[in-house]
């Protein structure tokens, strides 16, 4: 296109400006695809719906980085506010770009209008009601150390039991406890878990199940308020290699990996694995397990290598 115009500009066929403009017009018309223009625009139906929603004011609507990226805030039956991000792909073609919910098929569908999206989203929210309740219950009653900045998108919680044992629990969309396992090594906790995991009762809530599991009568109510998440972080041990509790791009908690039970030093699996690889002169893991000497007490230490 550019070169055609260049050619026209340089040719001597156009003796006057009107002739040049005529030719340019013909050139432009033959080269521009109408569709490529219309895809930059938003159709009237969509615009009307946006206007209506804004005028009505019942559902707050926000524009994102372009007029085609929108966000709205939808309340569920218990007045929790949920953000819903969606994108205008073309006339009667809308799709959900992200939600703070565990994955579901509503994210793969295409919708005719904003109302359809909101209806589908609300339906999903009411389906997840028990899920929200369980997570809120865990967050308010237990000392949750992971995920640090949690949303309803995170369907798991890591709960601190003592300073070297954590309980990982997942919550299904139906609000059931799932994949309950211990992190770290507290032998007495692990025995309790093995003896009683079969008694897990899906009719009562996750926190009560955890309490029965470990014979905790009064679950130590967290001494922090939700806002002071800093305090929660302090309870997590520091990794002896990076000297931080938290890694920048991961929610991993430092754990005790050393075979020497008196060592008591914690590492991020990531940091330890990196060191074991370096100290083995770059040789990678054997069968996915990195082994070597503990950086602190020089006893045997091993951890599962990096995933993938």
């Amino acid at each position: 296109m550019d070169s055609l115009i260049q050619e026209l500009l340089n040719s001597e066929k156009c003796k006057s400006l009107p002739v040049f403009l005529d030719r340019l017009h013909v050139l432009l018309q033959s080269n521009i695809e109408i569709e490529s223009i219309s895809s930059f625009l938003i159709d009237k139906d969509f615009l009307d719906e946006v206007k209506n929603l804004v005028a009505h004011g019942s559902i707050p609507l926000f524009f994102g980085k372009s007029l085609k990226d929108l966000k709205c805030i939808v309340q569920d039956n218990e007045n929790r506010k949920h953000e819903l991000y969606f994108h205008y792909n073309g006339p009667r073609k809308l799709s959900i770009t992200s939600v703070y919910l565990p994955y579901s098929t509503i994210q793969d569908q295409e919708y005719n209008c904003i109302e359809d999206i909101i209806v589908a989203f609300k339906k999903r929210l009411s389906y997840l009601n028990k899920y929200f309740k369980e997570l809120e219950n865990i967050d308010s009653l237990c000392t949750v150390v992971e995920p640090v900045n949690r949303t309803f998108k995170d369907d798991y919680r890591v709960i601190s039991l003592d300073n070297k044992t954590w309980l990982h629990v997942e919550v299904t969309p139906e609000g059931m406890g799932n994949n309950v396992r211990l992190l770290g090594k507290g032998r007495e906790w692990s025995e309790k878990l093995q003896n009683k995991l079969l008694l897990w009762d899906h009719d009562t809530n996750v926190v009560e199940n955890i309490m029965t599991l470990f014979d905790v009568i009064n679950y130590a109510a967290p001494s922090y308020q939700e806002s002071s998440s800093q305090k929660v972080i302090e309870k997590v041990p520091i990794c002896n290699i990076c000297l931080s509790a938290q890694l920048p791009n991961s929610s991993e908690v430092p754990q005790s990996f050393c075979s020497n039970s008196n060592c008591g030093v914690y590492f991020h699996r990531n940091c330890l694995c990196q060191w074991l690889t370096v100290s083995n002169s770059g040789r990678n893991t054997d069968f996915g397990i990195a082994t070597g000497k503990c950086p602190s007490c020089f006893q045997l230490i091993s951890c599962i290598g990096k995933e993938g």
């Binding site: 002896n240 290699i241 990076c242 000297l243 931080s244 890694l247 030093v265 370096v278």
Partner: protein
């Protein structure tokens, strides 16, 4: 400001704790180190009651971006290089934790303490036996030297 790398984060933490709680006789030049986290100058005083009482030494620490997986390069600099059987007159130190026995659980503070204890346990002030040969032939970076540790007792 760009996000800190893991090695910068760790150095920053070490620097803070070394400034706040320095081991006796050890001071770090905090201003210089915070301007360039990869080059630290540490001042060290000879421990009273040892051969180095009253002497002052300067240590230089150089870190790569692989720290703490890679050991720091540590040398004595300045006018007063301690006369010690493991310290060459060019400032290079023969200390196994600085090369083969390095571990990421060690730190600037633990390296300083090791050097203080190495100096303090000295019974006779003298240069290493191969000093003049070594100083003439060695690489500028002591980490390039394949050290033969003289003894484990000091």
């Amino acid at each position: 400001m760009a996000a800190m790398s893991p090695s910068q984060r760790r150095l920053q933490k070490e620097l803070m704790s070394l400034i706040r709680e320095p081991p006796p006789g050890v001071t770090v030049d905090g201003d210089q180190a915070s301007q360039n986290l990869t080059l630290w100058t540490v001042h060290m005083e000879g421990v009273p009651g040892t051969l180095y009482e009253g002497e002052k030494f300067v240590l230089q620490f150089k870190f790569t971006n692989k720290y703490p997986f890679d050991s720091p390069e540590v040398t004595f600099v300045g006018n007063n290089i301690p006369v010690h059987p493991h310290v060459y007159s060019n400032g290079h130190i023969c200390l196994s934790i600085l090369t083969d026995d390095w571990s990421p659980a060690l730190s600037v503070q633990s390296v300083c303490l090791s050097i203080v204890s190495m100096l303090s346990s000295c019974k006779e002030k003298k240069r290493p036996p191969d000093n003049s040969f070594y100083v003439k032939t060695c690489n500028k970076n002591p980490k390039k030297t394949k050290w033969w540790y003289h003894d484990d007792s000091v």
